[in-house]
């Protein structure tokens, strides 16, 4: 089975995020890391590919930079990576991102595409559905468990009240939730091997995608700030202050 996993390199979430004051696009340093939520997709892809003697190809759109994030995913065990890196894609909205990824994925060929439910830095949460529509395949979303077999894929789809079992035939797109599987840590050998794995870099010209984009952020302003109230050190009686406040708010 040919598995494609969509992974994104993002600015380290441990640092502070900045917006370009003019374009309001997120500033992306050369050194970006693998979006933590994508580790679940990579792990899921590796497990499904292993079970079917298949391959895992990573597809990513965004500035290549030092490629640290992509290497992280390759070190987990993915076979190769395709990166679409083009200045014209700066600040790409969800639909443009989906069109670019769909073109790259269609060019690679696939039985199963795996994406995350939402990215940490963009969190539009609609990429997998858009991809599926553009590729004319089903999107099985919010997956908390994924099984493939005999030309079909079955997932547990998280719902507001529990979960549904959903089935479709391959090819398909699956969007996984964090926690769907336990991602492995790269081994030393994995890290060494990753350096030799093929990485193709493409431009939008290579894919024939038109970069027209309709969405603009017109302004960014500070939200009305919520004032922090009292902060007290517990010296054995802080619970009394809480009781007092609960009384004041008439919830007890």
């Amino acid at each position: 089975m040919q598995v494609v996993v969509c992974v994104k390199q993002i600015p380290d979430p441990a640092g502070t995020y900045e917006l370009d004051p003019e374009t309001h696009f997120l500033v992306r340093p050369a050194e970006q890391v693998l979006d933590d939520t994508d580790r679940y997709g990579v792990e899921m892809g590796l497990q499904l590919a292993q079970a079917s003697d298949g391959t895992v190809t990573l597809v990513s759109m965004g500035p290549t930079g030092s490629m640290q994030g992509i290497r992280q995913a390759l070190a987990m065990g993915a076979d190769k990576a395709v990166i679409v890196d083009d200045d014209g894609l700066k600040g790409a909205d969800a639909l443009l991102t989906a069109r670019v990824l769909a073109a790259a994925i269609a060019a690679e060929g696939f039985d199963l595409v795996i994406a995350g439910t939402e990215s940490t830095d963009g969190y539009s949460g609609v990429l997998p559905q858009m991809l599926a529509e553009l590729l004319d395949v089903p999107a099985l979303t919010y997956a908390t468990s994924v099984k493939t077999g005999d030309g079909s894929v079955t997932i547990h789809r998280q719902t507001a009240s529990g979960y549904d079992v959903v089935e479709a035939s391959l090819p398909a797109v699956v969007a996984v939730t964090a926690g769907v599987v336990e991602p492995r840590y790269p081994t030393f050998k994995g890290i060494m091997d990753a350096k030799k794995k093929p990485v193709d870099t493409l431009t939008v010209g290579d894919l024939g995608v038109d970069v027209a984009m309709a969405q603009t952020v017109s302004a960014v302003e500070d939200a009305p700030e919520r004032e922090a109230g009292a902060k007290i050190e517990d010296e054995g009686d802080a619970h009394l202050r809480i009781v007092e406040l609960l009384e004041q708010k008439k919830v007890i």
Binding site: A94, L95, A98, E118, Y123, S124, G125, V126, L127, P128, Q129, M130, L131, A132, E133, L134, D136, V137, P138, T141, T144, T154, Q158, T159, A160, G162, Y163, V165, V166, E167, A168, S169, A178, M213, A214, Q215, T216, V217, S218, V220, E221, D222, A223, A228, G229, K231, I232, E233, D234, G236, A238, H239, L240, R241, I242, V243, L245, K249, V251, I252
Partner: protein
Amino acid sequence: MADIWVFVEAENELPSTLGLELLTKARSLGTVTVVYLGPESDEAVTTLGEYGAETVFWADVGDALPAAPVAAALAGLIGEHSPDLVLFGQSYTDRDVAGRLAARLGTTLLSNASDVELVDGSVVTTHEIFGGTQLAKATTAGNGTQLVLIRPKSFPAEPGGEATASIHAIDLPDVGGAGAVITERHVEEREGPQLGEAAVIVSGGRGLGSPEAYELIERLAKPLRAATGATRAIVDAGWVPYAKQVGQTGKTVKPDVYIAAGVSGAMQHLVGMKDSKTIIAINKDADAPIFGIADLGVVGDVHSVLPKLIEALESR
């Protein structure tokens, strides 16, 4: 008058609260048409009318996964009627339908909006970014139908429409290989006060130290008749079910009082609860970000503060 469409999903066979929130807003923007996904019922249509719907397009997909057939049908309807704006809720099926629809129509889709306005005929949306510390305003060029996903609890749900809605069944096209079927549905037991409704919420995070310690959260909730919540960290770790998760990928809540115990206050948690009227936080790290929005911050150990608090409340 602007022509505003709202996608409303059924919840327990009636329009969802999220859908009614969107309707309340839509009413203030123009005339309202609802695309309703669920079993046909007079009660549902009456409710939609009470919240301002004049026209209801109703689709019942049975056991098909809704996204592909509903998006295809909606694309057809939108082509025919060219509404100015279609509002969706930032929830499961809404996202699936809106995403596919946007790709089908080739229009952009704005996600995670907390407000939407019409300014000189264009749609302007507000998005809370960086954990709600900043607000971004987005507009979309072009004058086709605009699609927006709105976060739950962005607007109150208030009846006020007078219309008796006219109802039209939607024909769902065959989507061939893009379709999927739901073969089983599992509903998890819901007991006690629910996150969406409770006046008080007690949430726990990784600072509780162990899954067993979540019992402290449950015991504290009892005398307060509170719903219990959690951070994603402890949901992912399997301590509590996903239904308890508060935050960006969980529930958005606005209770009168929110008590966070052993919760650091990550951006993605804050977006789900920062609009609570009163916030009380207990954390042993005086620099935990949660204190930045707490009305009362207690720097202390949950294992000493919570038992005493529980005892004080239980003995009242």
